[in-house]
Assembly symmetry: C3
Homo-oligomer: 385 residues x 3
Amino acid sequence: MSIVHPDRLLPADPATREIARRLYAEVANATILSPHGHVTPGLLLDDAPFGSPSELLITPDHYVTRVLHSAGVPLDELGRQVDGDPSTVPSETIWRRLAEHWHRFLGTPVRYWMENQLSDLFGITEPLTPANADAIHDSITATLVDPAFRPRALFNRFGIEVLATTDDPADDLAAHRALAEDDTFTGRVLPTWRADRFMTPDQAAWPLALNALAERTGIDCGTYAGLVAALRASRQHFVDHGCTATDTGVADADSTPLDEAEAERIHARGLRGAATVAEATAYRHNLLYRFAEWSCEDGLVMQLHPGVIRNHHRATFERFGADVGADLPDVASFTRPLAPVLQDFGTNPNLHLVLFTVDETAFSREIAPLAGFYPAVYVGAPWWF
Amino acid sequence: MSIVHPDRLLPADPATREIARRLYAEVANATILSPHGHVTPGLLLDDAPFGSPSELLITPDHYVTRVLHSAGVPLDELGRQVDGDPSTVPSETIWRRLAEHWHRFLGTPVRYWMENQLSDLFGITEPLTPANADAIHDSITATLVDPAFRPRALFNRFGIEVLATTDDPADDLAAHRALAEDDTFTGRVLPTWRADRFMTPDQAAWPLALNALAERTGIDCGTYAGLVAALRASRQHFVDHGCTATDTGVADADSTPLDEAEAERIHARGLRGAATVAEATAYRHNLLYRFAEWSCEDGLVMQLHPGVIRNHHRATFERFGADVGADLPDVASFTRPLAPVLQDFGTNPNLHLVLFTVDETAFSREIAPLAGFYPAVYVGAPWWF
Amino acid sequence: MSIVHPDRLLPADPATREIARRLYAEVANATILSPHGHVTPGLLLDDAPFGSPSELLITPDHYVTRVLHSAGVPLDELGRQVDGDPSTVPSETIWRRLAEHWHRFLGTPVRYWMENQLSDLFGITEPLTPANADAIHDSITATLVDPAFRPRALFNRFGIEVLATTDDPADDLAAHRALAEDDTFTGRVLPTWRADRFMTPDQAAWPLALNALAERTGIDCGTYAGLVAALRASRQHFVDHGCTATDTGVADADSTPLDEAEAERIHARGLRGAATVAEATAYRHNLLYRFAEWSCEDGLVMQLHPGVIRNHHRATFERFGADVGADLPDVASFTRPLAPVLQDFGTNPNLHLVLFTVDETAFSREIAPLAGFYPAVYVGAPWWF
């Protein structure tokens, strides 16, 4: 029995609430098609029991850790590894931290979500408090040893029809292949091609990404032409493994192409560690244009998440790495920056460009109008990423 | 009898709905003063029967065609002329296309509007479907031969008190004059001066616009000073024909003036086909400033629609021309870009500057505050254009 | 008895209204902690009776005068001094002007606020009209001689626990000191440090500000280093007088620091009247960074109000001075422009940076996400300033 209110996200007005209930009832038991997620295929391949409650529900969830961080809790006290070293903080300690700060989550989707999990999945029917934190932690721990709480069992129980993961172009997709060939698992898990780290020739880690891709594809990435060939080979490899879509996250949606000579020039400067921010930005804009161009050929749906400044706090990035909650939204624009892509491919029947935003005003101002003219443009769901 | 719900655009909450009903009832039968429309005066002068249902309700309405276009229907299949050649697609075929895609319009003002017309004007009481598309098409066709459905009869039936058209500065306003002198028509139809095409010295069609204006006014437009004199003569001609307002659509509202030498320099470059985008933009900003300056003298109300990128898809523009639904909104700003105009004319009792936007957030952020200080600024209606 | 509706600012839907009533009842009688106001301490020190109704309720309130100004009433007819000379317009005349234009305030917070004052404070139970304007004016005048309507009596009646004023760094805080030492007044009134006028080396009044500060602190402000030392001495003087916070209003939130040599160069150019707009802007951005840096040391809470263009209408500013309603909002951004400050001090436990905006969309897009990661960031109230 759930302790969360069944109407918790529906309108308050009785007339519209009644309509919302009716609409929700029609889809509440639909199977899940997850077009863009962050589950690793290895999780389902290994099907090992989940770790501790904090490892499962707090440490890797940047929606949870960011709020605790903003309340002054350092990330290393929440189980994040520091300078590459794994954490030794006990799960109970981290869980108690969540309980102490639980009031800060009131009214947030994070709390709705967590309460939903605790109640409907783990059968915990009292609200989390510092006083019952240890007992709840132990209860979850006990539940997690139940085979019904292993990844594959949950995959089936949740009614997931398709799960798309997010994968690096240099990934050999061995886990996906093994999972597809595993007769004991019937779920459909597809890779998604995400090449963000190849778009940043001003970053210290960029040459490492090129090397990894070169090793995977056997194509030298020392030139722009080489990188293009390797990325396209990688896309084909993904397509061969069931991939249907790409995903791209960029600070802005500018999609101005470069001529090849200029792209080669910046590529060479990037390899020497000499690319300026302006050059790297132009290089990124060009690759965004190319991704659309390639989608017209290989048919991969193009998901685009612009308008977020990643790793906004450098010291946190250097100490704790990416995906800790420091990706912060900027004003997002689409109509002007996407003009180059839409000029050339906006009526191409092979392009399916899904535009996401965390700037809610962009839906009515730009995304819906673009989708209302261009056959290639689709409106993405209004959610964080 | 109408099949559209009388409360369809009112709030759902019963208390506010009751108030909304009361307010709406007070204005529902008011006469219409249309300050900015796209009816040509010739339509009322000739008073010929309307053409086919598609010619009347689909092909020229870019709100309708854009949604069909976004669903993959090419514009030439919707009756738009291609490369200047008129369409030969039968009205029934186009109408069937609308019926096939009618579900895509659910929840849009376009569908509300069309259902309102079909029901209240044409007496069609069943929803449009592919199955009844031909029957509905025939029913509208039959109705349109009724003299009560000619332009003048509808003008009177709709209770239109004043209708302002949109006219080019090079127009001689002969149709307006004839309409005003026609004793058999008592409606009031006024011209509106719209000079957008004179603001674009980087466009291939710009010299043609100058030539047309020169021919109309007898003033050589080969210089900036000449163009200014011709535009002002044209405004006077409009005022003499009852014009009370201008309208201007620009990508941004920047109103920085140029000194005359710089304006002349860009004008000359434009005539040689050598004006850059930056020069053309500066030239446009200067003309926007001049329009405000002239309004302080001749008293024409100044309507301004910034923030839309016109003809966003070049290939569509080249094939089908303007006004096909490819004018797409950008982020709009007013406070900073309009500073030059407001510095100099914001308290001038002769200026009435009406600011429109499709960026809804600009109302509370910029337009209302500007109107709340400057006597010259008015808040325009929140609608598409 | 109040004539204003007790639910006037609550939701219309009965279910949510009931919840809102319950929540409001819990805080309606709370004491007031005013973190940022525009009362001068001398008002409470002198405790003299207030002047006429217009002097109290119209002339100094730019929310009121701006609407009248937008209706075409010149500011000099509303009691504002012109070119530095005090007004001679009688209070009755100004009050009548308000009554004539009272319908223009319908639906605004200004009217809600004024009706609340007239009804609950002055016991006036009929709506203001031109017909009763004189009678209401006389009634307020009569009430204002009552000792219960002197500043200190109202301070107590309103349940003010703390009142923070807004003060110039060159202020010696004598009034605050005298008020704190006055045994007959027990209210807590704190100064707030606001240094906006020291951030504008391109303004004619900037050297005068430097001179005033130099005189107050005894530190020569002829160099940037001198100004920094004097501002920091001033902050310490404020802290010694109970100050807990600073306030800063800027056109944008860019906080890029300068190296000292460049800051000195622009400072010197400012003193020669030669600083460009670009130089003055860079100088301002640097000082914003310094204010955050200093807050990390002296612990003063940092209130920031970016996104407003002050004194938008130059002619009005030159004739009537600042704060007449011509401070107009621009698009506001936070995530990108505040990066320099947040990179360096965003996790500093001593920084408390409160972000305010009049661009409502910035709350969900930028301010809440920033506050949801950075311990130093707080969400300011959604109100005009």
